[in-house]
Amino acid sequence: MNNKVSKKVEQMQPSGIRAFFDLVLGMKEVISLGVGEPDFVTPWVIREAGIYSLEQGFTGYTSNKGLYKLRLGLHRYLKSKYNLHYSPDDEMLITVGVSEGVDLVLRAIINPGDKIIVPQPSYVSYGPVTELAGGIPVYTDTTKDGFKLTPEKLEKAIDKKTKGIILNYPVNPTGVSYRKKELEALGKIILKHGLICICDEVYGDLTYDFEHTAFPTLAGLKKNTVYLNGFSKSFAMTGWRVGFACGPKEIIAGMTKIHQYTIMCVPITAQMAAAEALVSGKKSIEEMKREYSRRREFVVEELNLMGLLCNKPQGAFYVFPSIKKTGLSSLEFSQKLLKEEKVAVVPGTAFGQCAEGFIRISYASSMESLKEALLRIERFMGKL
């Protein structure tokens, strides 16, 4: 048999910087600012709840939709935080991280040839997963608009085949976020064309300069929105793989159908721990957020001082400085920095071709590592 792998998968673009990542993994004593997860371990109260659930013998399947206790906890959490009402019975699904949520919603809504708008630079999975679901990703370049999708660009990207848009904010990789007014302007267009907005708000709790606005809280938009969030970033629970999707009944029902045939349910230990996170993890969130915010100020100031210009991001734990003045490409800069100073960053092009000339720096590292890494980058810049 010659064609063991399907055409669709064969044609999928592998990440162009795979070789670079392998290089990083093979090197010792590297300071990595390339990490997309918190440097905190999951707060002890949450870990303890996971351990306790094992001791109690909670080792079986849960309902396909997820533990009722967890859905109820999320219902209360969204109500108190955003005054957002989703029924735990039929408007909510517990997923294996937001990643599964993205996959499920795309597969649930896309008919062959439907288009999904993806503002770039963006998280790496949106485009490929859209293609796997039989859709066509339509990338819009936000680099000239401060990494934000503007209403004009959105309007321009829409045609008859457009089914929806994936809106992630605060944005991985740029850290940029949207204020309520900006979201309302985008919302109007989404409503006008009857699109579905898939909003990935996994970094929502890590918004520093203003209140995060959940997209479905905007007037009239709840029925057009699938709200995705998870425990990975805000509760430092990346490895537990717990996310959730909230949305209109029929979409959630469609997603649940796929979920029950492919995943069955999220591991019960992780769900038990997540339920506890909602009850007693709030204090830890606030502490981590203050710590991130201080690092952000520090890193942004230092980078700008050494000529790697960047705006202050409003959320997540990334900065996205321009390296254009060095004359190097994103990949060349990252490779050279790694070889000469053993500092790992992620080339902007990992997040879309339009992000050539930028790098992603994660400040989810201790102040000590950040200081040392910034010293090395400064030395590196001096040698260029």
């Binding site: 390339g34 990490v35 997309g36 201080r294 520090f298 790992a344």
Partner: protein, 161 residues
């Protein structure tokens, strides 16, 4: 400005310039705030947290927790007798406690003889000290929020999206 204290409490060596960058304030304002904290006695001192078990040249001493029952004095209650007790250099901490005894006194000594002779010859014979119960400490796991164990290496993968 309370955030300055939060930073320094975690790491007393962070420089005012770095704190200024983290909080987006002027370095001189941060310096002035720290000076004021020091003057007002909010910040009392800066010191290193040492894991004595790992100091080879100088075997770690012995620590005892002593429950002390006291006859309080007119007008000054426990304060005067507490002062007499905590002024001994052997006493590393001293707390007034509710419950079945009054003062919890933590004493450090080179060995069991040093600690017992302090209890027998200095503490117990103080006027107003009615009774003492001494507990020798066997192992320290965590002290003042610091887990006394070397940091485990980072378990994250080096690159992730």
């Amino acid at each position: 400005m309370e955030e300055i204290l939060e930073i320094l409490e975690k790491d007393g060596r962070v420089s005012p310039d770095d704190i200024a960058k983290m909080l987006k304030k002027k370095p001189q304002d941060v310096k002035a705030a720290i000076r004021k904290y020091e003057r007002d006695g909010v910040i009392l001192k800066y010191k290193a947290v040492i894991n004595r078990d790992l100091v080879k040249a100088e075997p770690c001493g012995l620590r005892a927790l002593i429950e002390v029952n006291i006859v309080p004095q007119k007008d000054v209650g426990f304060d005067r007798i507490a002062e007499r007790i905590y002024s001994f250099p052997e006493v590393s901490s001293c707390y007034l406690i509710s419950g079945t005894y009054d003062l919890l006194v933590i004493v450090e000594g080179k060995n069991i003889h040093a600690v017992s002779s302090f209890v027998a010859e200095k503490l117990s014979c103080l006027e107003n000290v009615r009774r003492t119960t001494t507990h020798f400490l066997l192992k320290k796991y965590k002290e003042d929020g610091v887990i006394l164990k070397q940091k485990e290496e980072n378990k994250r993968i080096a690159i992730s999206y």
